[in-house]
């Protein structure tokens, strides 16, 4: 699903050049649930940005579902993001004046789907995260965990190939974190490929594979015995 070879990325900081990614080789197969771990400055966010087409690598190759991701202009990148990727953020990033349902329906709007189809699909995914009865509520009326579940529903609505979650539990208490991870696991069980960036070991343990980044290189890449979140919920 994801094929990365010898990925390099550096940032110009004034006169200095900061080499953030120093040759990453990394691949993810369909249906995997991968945790990307590392301390701040390890390059995990940069890697996720590149994976999410929010940023571009200096050198190296990146294939997403056998499509080469290179030299995309903004419009093309937006199209690919919409088609291939679903994002879940630490701070939820829901549009505050839209209801839960409208938020979930938004990626479908950018897919130019008909209104009826948007509403039906959005409702279906809200149901999937257990928030069907909260459809007409604004984000301000939802708890943190509920907001993140809406965000997950939104990320899934466009039926992306890969779900990218950047510290999805970073702003949640541990009980709610496990609830969210439970949902992520169940989505993964249905076959969705998911990448989770986290610095929390217990969250990483709930994935099937952990990739450790340090100073711009992968120092460890191991399969783990998945801890099911449902036992804590």
């Amino acid at each position: 699903m994801i094929e990365i070879k010898d990925l390099h990325k550096s940032y110009q900081m004034g006169s200095n050049s900061l080499h953030v990614l120093k040759g990453i080789d990394f691949s993810v197969k369909e249906g995997e649930l991968v945790a990307i771990m590392g301390s701040s400055g390890s390059g995990k966010s940069t890697l996720l940005n590149i994976l999410g087409m929010l940023d571009e690598a200096d050198s190296g190759s990146y294939f997403l579902d056998e499509v080469p991701i290179k030299g995309l202009n903004e419009t093309k990148a937006a199209q690919y993001r919409n088609k291939f990727l679903g994002f879940v953020f630490q701070s939820f990033n829901l549009i505050n004046y839209k209801t839960a349902l409208e938020n979930v329906a938004l990626p479908l709007y950018y897919q130019r789907k008909k209104r009826k189809e948007r509403i039906d699909k959005a409702m279906e995914y809200l149901g999937k995260v257990g928030l069907a009865e909260w459809a007409t509520h604004l984000p301000s009326e939802l708890s943190g965990g509920q907001k993140q579940r809406v965000a997950i529903a939104r990320a899934l609505a466009a039926d992306p190939k890969v779900l990218l979650a950047d510290e999805p539990t970073g702003a949640l208490d541990s009980k709610t974190s496990y609830e969210v991870m439970d949902i992520i696991q169940s989505i993964n069980d249905e076959g969705k490929t998911i990448l989770v960036v986290t610095h929390e070991p217990d969250i990483a343990d709930m994935c099937k594979r952990i990739v450790h980044l340090k100073d711009g290189v992968i120092v460890e890449d191991k399969e783990v015995e998945q801890v099911r979140a449902s036992q804590y919920v």
Partner: protein, 409 residues
Amino acid sequence: MFDRDRWGEIFEAIGKNKLRTFLSGFTVALGILIFTILLGLGNGLLNSFLSSFVDDAQNIIFIRGGNTSKAYKGFQENRRIQFKNEDFEFIKSNYIGKVEFATPRIYRNGSAKYKKESGSYSIRAVHPDHQYLEKTIMMNGRYLNESDINERTKNIVIGRLVEKDLFKNEKALGKMLNVDGIAYKIIGVFQDSGGDNEERIIYMPYKTVQLLYGNNDHINQINLSYNMAMSTEQAIAFSKKIEEDFKEKFKVAPDDQSAIRVRSFAEDIKETMVILGGIYMIIFVVGIGTLISGVIGIGNIMTFSVKERTKELGIRKALGASPRSIIAMVLQESVLITSVAGYLGLILGILALKLIGNNLEKFFILNPKVDTGIIMTATMVLIFFGLLAGYIPARRAAKIKPIIALRDE
């Protein structure tokens, strides 16, 4: 542009961000409102200046005779200067090319009678040219003509209010009117923008009056209009020339102020034009100033609005919105708001001017109105600059990397 879904999205954004909508709309509406009222009041000021000229032609010169105040060339002072037909002919034949229209005037009062109704009216005995000098508008029939003068017909033209007073609901045209015991035929009814008094006048052929009232060739006054091609300076010089010629003709001392009085509007017009120029200038400067401050206001609001939306726009980008769709959304929204608000301001402004109406006449503001074309242009300018002001931050927002927009807590 006509994508129903996109408009839906925009209406939703407008409806749910009332403060933002109100702020940007308010700026535009206020700008246009102030601009409209200002322009209207300025025009009112202009109208009140111009209204002093609407009654008569602006290029008119009056020549009147009085009594001499000085002895001169063997004549004693306090001699009466009486104009005659030959003086009128002198004007017509002596200043060819400079005089446009000319008429003698003889003033009388007469009591007019029709059936049981009667009243006293001003009579003006005039030449057909008088119609153009006085800007008399014929409602029915015709004005006096040359053959009325030469044949000394008893044809008269009466004012609208004379008809109304004496004939009530009857049509006066073609009827006979008894004035001071003599029956005249009414050949025309006129109106005049100079007010009620100007419409209670009876016009007669001057030679007819001279024949019937005293059988002489006396004239009270000569009115003429000079060629419009003359500049104001030339016109002033021309009226001086007439005064000199007449003083010589009647053997009046050159510095005698009361014997021959030549009065033209040329100097008044010159002064008025300077004032009008000043007023135009002020309106222009203040109007432009209002527009500029409106544009700046919109620019500020747009920048603020886009900044406030940076995060939302970042989310939309992450979800697959193209930069173009982001810019289009922001701009369409702002155009919608500015157009509606601009139109609202325009309507309010025109309404306010209607309410003001002629209530401010004592402040020299008469009939304040605006040219819709100018206001539309002003609104367009505001919308255009609102667009421009919105485009710059919108483009920046569209370019910003979503990950940065989203991180910006």
